[in-house]
Homo-oligomer: 228 residues x 4
DNA sequence: TATGAATGAGTGTTCATTCAT
DNA sequence: TATGAATGAACACTCATTCAT
């Protein structure tokens, strides 16, 4: 009975497809809720109850998707940082100069952070950086170091300066309003720390920043961190 | 009977004095134990049981001195960072040039951190810096900024670069061995980030670092982080 | 696929219904156990462990229903006193003379108390009376006062005499056996205190007391307080 | 060396005497403090810390005088109720008519309670009456019953009516202000409950109440319960 | 697969009691 | 005898995890 069999398969396929879509939507809901919860209450305090309440799901449903809150933290972290990094990478499409990539990427990151308290709260509480962020940054630093664009001891030191300064800047922007010029001043300090000359810094900061597109809704859930 | 009265007063005084000494010793014991516990297990995981076991005290005794582990964290943080800052301040006695103070202070801090896993583990997990650290650093940065020694937008940006870079450097030194030159390379990057010229950086790093003395035992409880 | 949808809804409804039934049963179990525990050990001594052991539930389950033992006490109190009051009210159905209602209600209450150590232990330890008790009593006293049936200063004084005397009588019946005539003697004293004449008192006490029906199992968990 | 010995003995005696005086004063301080603590926080909630703080003594000192808070409660209870009873007894000196003694004693008790929140809070929380109170009351009731002055079933019922009504009245006076006439209205209700005729009640209440004297400071520590 | 009532180990917190001074 | 730091058993409370429906 081939026809019967085919029909059954089609029904099964349809069911499977619908089921997967529902799964994907529920998972996205949990992640979006988790980002807010983590941002609001830190990465240690929140309990599973907070997540299921924020996501509007049942207690047992949580375990269908994540086994621990730590696992959820990793997933939410990857989701958030990587999505921003992907968007920045897209905005830098075609640019090959490592210094320009670093300058523009840093400016984009800081501007986004300035308007996104969720992002800041999340990043400064997390001890580790997203894998994509780390890889992209080190690649550019290595490239610049190879061609002598950076006047700095080692790539490791350069990486620490960039990551550390941005992290503190995000902490400051989370704590309260900052002047409009603050993000670019931080970018300038980082470039100076890497050994970029004053003239180049001025040129890079004079460039218009490209527009970021295509980030998911979760990262923009909360309003701007500063009205200044 | 004045002699009787005096005797009674003397007894009371003696009791009070002995009591205070005992309190001070117990408090120091808890703080010393707390530093190790926090360094080993982070700032969120440890439970009160960990502290009382490490300090060798009874459950109830903990609450005589601290009401929450967060309160203990703040006290231990102040104790640790301030003690190092006091030692550095003492080693910088007489030096008034803000750039030299910053350069030498940073080098001292990083060298100490390189040999003290407890310090690193503690500082990178703590969101806030000790009050004394923050005050001393900002004072030097402000002084340098006033006399044009730093070529950087604002003192806030300078502070974020210094603190952020040192923090990441400490995280790296906690994670594994670093080259012998690493601390001074980080100091050089920071100075460059503040706008100090290459010649001055070389001169400052060529200066011998003074010897740190007089820190309590807790900060040196654990061995060096790297044999390299 | 309407049938599919209807099936899903039915499942959900069924789940909800089953859950509510289970909740109701557990809550009743806790209340029944609480009555015995409070009666046996007073209202201050028992700890949560006593309740969960008596109810046969887990530690955490307790907190799903009550947050403190005081909250449980209030709920158990309302449950117990109100249930008795409802039963008495039912037995008094159709009687409108406030004096007769008060006389018969008091006799019913005291007879029930005589055979129910749980009720006595509970009531005399509780500072507040159940809302229904207070309301019903005051309503009858007010009605009697209005029509001049009671010769007493104010309704407040009348209420204090009724409640206070019954409370002490319950304490006595809890402490040990009392003569068979005791409940009616107490009722007579109360009526006399309210100003009812001797002839009326004799007439009222000569009336047969109606039968109490329909009280839950908890109130009758313990046997009679006196075999006399 | 008899003279020497006598001198030593004298010194010892003096020391002993001074020590006993000090003991008595400390004990009185603890009792006075305990009355306030029990009245303010109930008889179950307060902990030893509350008592030593209120009395201004050291932790260990408490155990020199009382072993448990229950023991302290008993002592404070006896101290308070018996002191009031002694004072009332003194005010009733020479009166032999049991009805008059009961009427005047009740009026005195209620008037004192009306002005002493500490007394009320204490008595209504305590399950048991002071021994002296119980003895004196029952003696008068028995005497009255013997000579046919009371028209009531048994002395036990009479006692329950008196104690219960007074207790509820004290609870009411603790809860808030009452009319000036309230204490005497309660006394009238009690007398009526015991079978005293209206004419006698009016005569008894028309008598002036004697003045209470000689109560310790503790019972009057708190202000009047009602300004009305 | 989703639900949510129930579970109980783990942790926080209190407080009566001891004892060296 | 008075002191008060230290003790640790007892108790309160949370929350990750399970499982019948």
């Amino acid at each position: 009975m081939p026809s019967r069999r085919r029909a059954t398969a089609a029904v099964t396929d349809h069911r499977t497809r619908v089921g997967q879509q529902r799964r994907e939507r529920t998972r996205a809901r949990i992640l979006a809720a988790a980002l807010e919860v983590f941002a609001e209450r830190g990465t240690e305090a929140p309990v599973i109850d907070d997540f299921i309440r924020a996501a509007g799901i049942a207690r047992g449903t949580f375990y269908t998707y994540f086994r621990t809150t730590a696992e959820l933290l990793v997933a939410a972290s990857a989701d958030l940082e990587d999505r921003l990094m992907v968007a920045i990478e897209a905005a830098l499409a075609g640019r090959t100069d490592p210094v320009e990539r670093l300058a523009t990427g840093t400016r984009l990151w800081l501007r986004r952070a300035r308007d996104d308290r969720v992002l800041c709260g999340f990043v400064i509480r997390s001890q580790l950086r997203g894998r994509l962020v780390e890889e992209t940054l080190v690649k550019d630093l290595r490239a610049g170091h190879r061609r002598g664009a950076f006047r700095i001891g080692t790539v490791a030191v350069a990486r620490d300066l960039v990551v550390g300064t941005i992290r503190e800047a995000m902490a400051r922007m989370l704590a309260g309003p900052v002047p409009r010029a603050y993000p670019d001043q931080v970018a300038a300090a980082i470039l100076q720390g890497l050994g970029t000359g004053g003239r180049d810094i001025r040129r890079l900061l004079a460039m218009p920043v490209p527009v970021l597109t295509g980030e998911g809704s979760a990262a923009t859930a909360k309003g701007p961190s500063s009205p200044a």
